[in-house]
């Protein structure tokens, strides 16, 4: 017992005031799905620490466990064993209301299919997380306008999603993800439904916001354009981390190919 005491006090010091440099700490995460009589081991013990302000891409073929892992670190699913800490909070200890609070305040979500609420205007969509956070309407509206200006859609505030192009819808979604000033933005295949040029624009917007707002961006992707802007690329294969590449290393290898 006595050996645990210092550890506990260290944790509570970390928790109050300034936070650790890691926004996500996953340790030995496993997940098993039951498919009829068969057990599918989607994750076979993944550990990954993600630093504050990092831009991370998670890559891997479909069926690799990439999506499952992505859901774990996004507070959307719970592991069978192992631990996931988000902002030093153990996800396993949270009840439904606390999880909703965490999703609302700590994590912003961007989806492949944009997922704007069709009955709401761009402004109302961006305001939505502030509504759930209980922010006064005026403050939420100001925040939403500020964000829509930042993604260069200040002139489309009152358009419905159906009146916007795919790229514009995704920019609204990016603005929405930042509404409550989250620590993490989770982007699930953010360029998957966009053409090449629009995809590049979205990626560079994410990178820019990552720098400017110091928000951690975690992206699950197949898109190799993401590699150029990511600080680290995590390759998942067969439920395990296959390899982790740092951008610095990749730039060197790309550079050397270019010179020869």
């Amino acid at each position: 017992m006595s050996t645990q005491a210092p550890e506990a006090s260290e944790q509570s010091v970390r928790g109050s005031g300034s936070r650790t440099e890691y926004v996500v700490r996953a340790k030995d995460v496993t997940k098993v799905f039951k498919m009829g009589n068969e057990e599918v081991h989607a994750l076979k013990g993944i550990s990954l620490d993600i630093k504050r302000g990092e831009y991370i891409s998670i890559m891997g073929p479909s069926g690799s466990g990439k999506s499952t892992f992505f859901n774990m670190i996004g507070g959307l699913d719970k592991p069978n064993s192992g631990t996931v800490f988000i902002n030093d909070v153990d996800m396993a200890q949270l009840d439904a209301q606390e999880l909703a609070f965490l999703r609302c305040h700590t994590i912003g979500y961007i989806f492949q299919t944009f997922n704007l609420i069709p009955v709401m205007t761009a402004l109302e969509n961006v305001m939505l997380p502030t509504v759930f956070a209980g922010m006064p309407a005026e403050e939420g509206q100001n925040r939403a306008i500020e964000l829509l200006n930042m993604v260069e859609l200040g002139h489309r505030l009152h358009n419905k999603p159906s009146q916007l192009s795919g790229g514009q819808q995704q920019r609204v979604a990016i603005a929405r993800s930042l509404a409550n000033r989250p620590s993490i933005v989770l982007a699930d295949e953010p360029t998957g439904n966009l053409d090449e040029k629009t995809g590049i624009a979205i990626i560079s917007l994410l990178r820019e916001l990552n720098k400017k707002e110091n928000v951690t961006i975690i992206s699950a992707t197949h898109d190799h354009k993401m590699v150029d802007v990511s600080d680290r690329i995590v390759w998942i294969r067969d439920g395990r981390v296959d390899k982790i590449e740092n951008r610095a290393d990749i730039e060197i290898s790309v550079g050397s190919i270019g010179h020869h």
Binding site: N87, V89, L128
Partner: protein
């Protein structure tokens, strides 16, 4: 004890329980949802509209026939009305279940953005109650009017003088002293049945996991 401690640790780290939104917000969401899916809402409401129109016409018919109605015919009419209302309930449940699966990703997204399950239930129930009340009101008006017209056309009051086959009147009665008794019966029952029919789909909607937002196949 230990769970309590951990909750405190979570609170130390700034994690609180998500606040429930006021009812007015749910009303606002429900209203937007009905407005955008107006055609679909009309079809859903159509079921209860027809059922209540039938109920209203039978209520009036019975009040016109008064004491002259044969017990076996009264029982048959009650049975018919009950059956048609049961069919309505099944129809509304079906329609609402479809609406839930259509909005699968939308509801998942709302959960990702911080919506609580109870908020989703509220949106669906408010939508249903408003729809049920309005459709029942129209159903009552149409059913009553059609029965009055029928009575006039086939001339029941004229051909059957009071005292022979007709003891009642074209009176829509009262309920606990309220005028237009059958109106309140129809709107009350219609709203209640719509709410009952929607409860299971609403629960199902509330149980949609936030991860549903990531699905691309719906």
């Amino acid at each position: 004890m230990s769970a309590n401690n951990l909750a405190h640790i979570a609170a130390d780290r700034g994690i609180k329980k998500q606040v429930a939104l006021p009812l007015s917000k749910a009303v606002e969401f429900a209203w937007k949802s009905v407005r955008i899916r107006f055609a679909r809402s009309l079809i859903t409401a159509g079921g209860i509209f027809l059922g209540i129109a039938f109920l209203a016409s039978i209520l009036l018919d019975k009040s016109v026939k008064g004491a002259d109605i044969e017990p076996s015919e009264a029982a048959r009419l009650n049975w018919l009305v009950a059956l048609s209302l049961a069919v309505c309930v099944v129809g509304i449940t079906n329609s609402m279940l479809m609406s839930v699966s259509e909005r699968f990703r939308e509801i998942g997204t709302m959960k990702c953005l911080g919506a609580l399950s109870q908020f989703i239930v509220k949106i669906f129930m408010i939508e249903a109650i408003a729809m049920g009340a309005i459709a029942s009101g129209f159903g009552w008006a149409v059913g009553t009017l059609l029965m009055i017209l029928t009575k006039i056309v086939i001339g029941v009051p004229k051909t059957a003088p009071p005292g022979t086959t007709w003891h009642g009147s074209l009176d829509i009665g009262d309920l606990f002293g309220l005028p237009f008794g059958s109106f309140w019966v129809c709107v009350g029952l219609g709203t209640l049945l719509t709410a009952i029919a929607t409860y299971i789909p609403a629960r199902q909607a509330a149980n949609i996991p936030p991860a549903a937002a990531l699905r691309t196949d719906v």
